[in-house]
């Protein structure tokens, strides 16, 4: 049986046929406040998956399906999932071609995701394209090698530059589970067309899948179309055994001309917008300074945690000043934060978020990202609401907690 949970009774369970205005846009009697657009109206959680989360977002005539698969943060799973993802993306793009449906895919900090977008009335076709994305890959060796080469290039790209190397070292120090990226390249080389089907069965399990549906398609229709998705069998322990004991290969050494230095710290839960606000404040502060060296701020998603990093690069003559700036960035950028400074930062963040979600696929990505991180269907909505509550006082309380946490340092020398 299907478990049914209604996230927001106010918006109703299923989309009804709505009137259309002169422009073809669907018109509903009540306009939806922008924040409410982020609130799911239906969550279906059938036993065995996949979970389906619907956001109605009326008016565009499009439907977006974003399917994500949670992947364990181990070298084997990460590298295999990357290959399967690349193969699935090719299969989906081929299937989407006849109707010009939009296909996207990304590897996320929590696993992998596919997004399919097209007219709502072509929903059956969209579901078919999505099924193709997660279908068991064919036995083609050429396709496998092509996917492997592409994934390997992406992984190596991180380590080719000092900035990538520094970031990877910081991540590995801050959160232990983030250290797999280096070792994943070794596992990547070991995947063959013989082991791939078993790995697919292990990773592409419906219970590990979530689908965010944006558009005027009832969630039940989506569930009916996607019930048989992915692998229905499990058990690949033997295959995984073959990967145990793999030795890490020498990873690419970057060419380094300047001194690189970075500091990072756990910046709180991903649904807490204070870390994003702080990152933007620090970024603006750094941009206004011109000292003959480069500095930047980065915010990483790791599990359901944000990690805030400040990174700098300088030639030896400026290295000491650069280190001082990186070290003092948080305290100096937030020295005198009042409402007049915070307001434009909050407005800019809010606008960027609303702008990213102005398309069905953007909204699906927002909702899917926060769901993937937390497992909560309305986490994206909660984040939007929390952003409206940020004030100078709440920011200073957050800073007090943040500065009490340990700081991780890393550097890359020429």
């Amino acid at each position: 049986m299907v478990g049914l949970h209604i996230g927001s009774p106010a918006l109703g369970l299923a989309a009804q046929a709505a009137p259309v205005d002169a422009s073809g846009a669907t018109v509903e009697a009540r306009r939806v406040p922008p924040t409410e657009v982020f609130l799911p109206d239906t969550v279906l959680a059938p036993p065995g998956g996949p979970r389906i989360i619907r956001l109605p977002a009326p008016g565009s005539g499009l439907a977006a399906l974003r399917l994500s698969i949670a992947v364990e943060a181990t070298p084997i799973e990460t590298s295999t999932a990357a290959i399967l993802h690349a193969l699935g993306l090719e299969q989906a793009r081929a299937a989407a071609l006849p109707l010009g449906v939009r296909v996207g895919g990304s590897r996320t900090p929590w696993g992998i995701a596919y997004t399919i977008v097209g007219p709502s009335e072509e929903f059956d076709y969209l579901a078919y394209v999505l099924r193709q994305a997660v279908a068991e890959p064919g036995p083609g060796r050429v396709e496998l090698e092509r996917a492997r080469a592409r994934v390997m290039a992406e992984m190596e790209r991180v380590f080719e530059t000092p900035a990538g190397r520094l970031a990877a070292d910081l991540r590995a120090d801050v959160v232990a589970t983030a250290s797999h990226t280096v070792r994943a390249t070794t596992a990547l080389e070991s995947v063959t067309e013989l082991t791939l089907p078993a790995l697919w069965r292990r990773i592409y399990r419906p219970e590990a899948m979530s689908v965010v549906l944006v558009g005027a398609v009832p969630a039940e229709v989506a569930l009916a179309s996607l019930r048989e998705i992915g692998s229905r069998t499990t058990g690949t322990g033997e295959v995984l055994d073959t990967y145990r004991g793999l030795v890490e290969t020498e990873s690419t050494r970057p060419v380094v001309l300047r001194q690189w230095y970075g500091e990072a710290r756990v910046a709180g839960d991903i649904t807490d917008p204070h870390s994003t606000v702080l990152a933007l404040l620090v970024s603006r502060w750094l941009r206004e300074l011109q000292h003959g060296f480069d500095t930047s701020v980065q915010l990483w998603d790791i599990g359901r945690t944000h990690v805030l990093a400040v990174i700098g690069a300088a030639y030896p003559s400026n290295a000491a000043a650069m280190r001082r700036q990186v070290h003092g960035a948080l305290s100096e950028a937030t020295a005198n934060i009042g409402a007049e400074i915070l307001a434009p930062v909050l407005a800019a963040l809010r606008f960027d978020m609303l702008a990213a979600a102005r398309t069905p696929w953007g909204l699906a990505m927002h909702a899917g990202r926060y769901h993937d991180a937390t497992g909560e269907p309305d986490a994206g909505y909660q984040y939007v609401r929390a952003l409206d509550r940020v004030s100078p006082e709440s920011l200073y309380r957050y800073l007090d907690e943040l500065t009490a946490r340990p700081v991780t340092h890393a550097e890359v020398e020429p």
């Binding site: 422009s23 939806v32 006849p98 109707l99 010009g100 939009r102 097209g118 609303l354 102005r358």
Partner: protein, 418 residues
Amino acid sequence: MRIRAHAFKRWRGSLVGAMLTAWTLALPILGAAQPVDGYVRARGVHVAQRPGATLVAVTVVIPVGSLHDPEGAPGTARFLAEIIAHSVRRRTDADPSRLDLRVERGWTAFTLLSTGDAWTRSWVALESAMFRRPLEDVAREEVRTRLLARFAFEEGIPAHEFQRELHRILVGTGHPWNRDPRAMRSTIDAVDSSVLEEFRARHYVAELAVAAVVGPVAEQAAHEALFPVGQDARGAIVPGGDPAWTEGDRLVLEREVTNAWIGVFFPSPLDQRRTLLEFLAFQLQDELNSLPPDPGLYSATVHIEDTPRGPVLVAQAAVVPEASGRWEERILRAMERLGENDDALFRWRRRRFRSASLLREAEPEATALRMALDLVREGRARSLPKEIPEIDAYELTDAVGSLANPRILLMGPDLPTP
């Protein structure tokens, strides 16, 4: 069932129609705006509600472009628009909004993207900068510096020469429509504020502009906020008649560059339905970019140019020089094939077109710009989700048949003779 057109039939109609312009001879709509439902609804403003959108997009189209630049000061339209946009961005820096600008040959479009609770405030900043507030000296000088720096980077690009020749072919040598909307260095360098203010006073008139609003807005509130924009908007008069030219032509420009450019231009009758023409452009582009990709092709695009003499379907391809002859032929044959429609094939093509239209207009600002340009061109905003399914195979075949003989432009090294 198969339907076939005799493509590129000889056009024997009067040339009088071709001399009329849907754009520059537009006549005012008769009568003032009338109160509707207790408020004044302008003919030149369209509001499309998207209740689930997160942002509001407002596009204002001013009926002025490089076509209207003063003699001896090409680029005035663009310089002025850039200054206005720059000062709005400075004033709304703290607002949750974004302003995009496009200056073309016959129009200038400002597109504001903003949150539902702030769009009227940002709109006031844009409206006053366009129609009321004097131009700011600081903004003018900052824009001047930025544009001059960009000129240094852009000058001497072969693709620009191809574009210049392309537009010369479309309307003939010496026509003011041929002026490059990117402007001229001499104008940016020398034009002073009195010229700019005078130009603005003549062309930036709120009542003559048109606007489209798309997003989670109430129609009445949007009309009230935009008043008096569009109150006296000139609805384009579609004369009905001949395409821009009837005789085909072929121009070859030998240039020692690394690739060849091909342009094939199909003029359409002035009263051709826009959605049908867009469908044709979409299909031709699809045909030219079929899979597997042609190894000799860098890029192939198709778009509609609204010339003063009517719409022209412009197919362009950048190819390796040795493939230029083959590609010229391929474009011509592809258009002929579009006149042969099998019912099932037609329905499939129409689904593809509908899908592409919806995806293209998923962003509210794309819909707002398209609707505002609809208002300029034909005095109404089209509903593509309604119009596309109404197209039938016969109409498409007729549309191909109604195109006059194409003009062709080739530029590159060692080009083939016909």
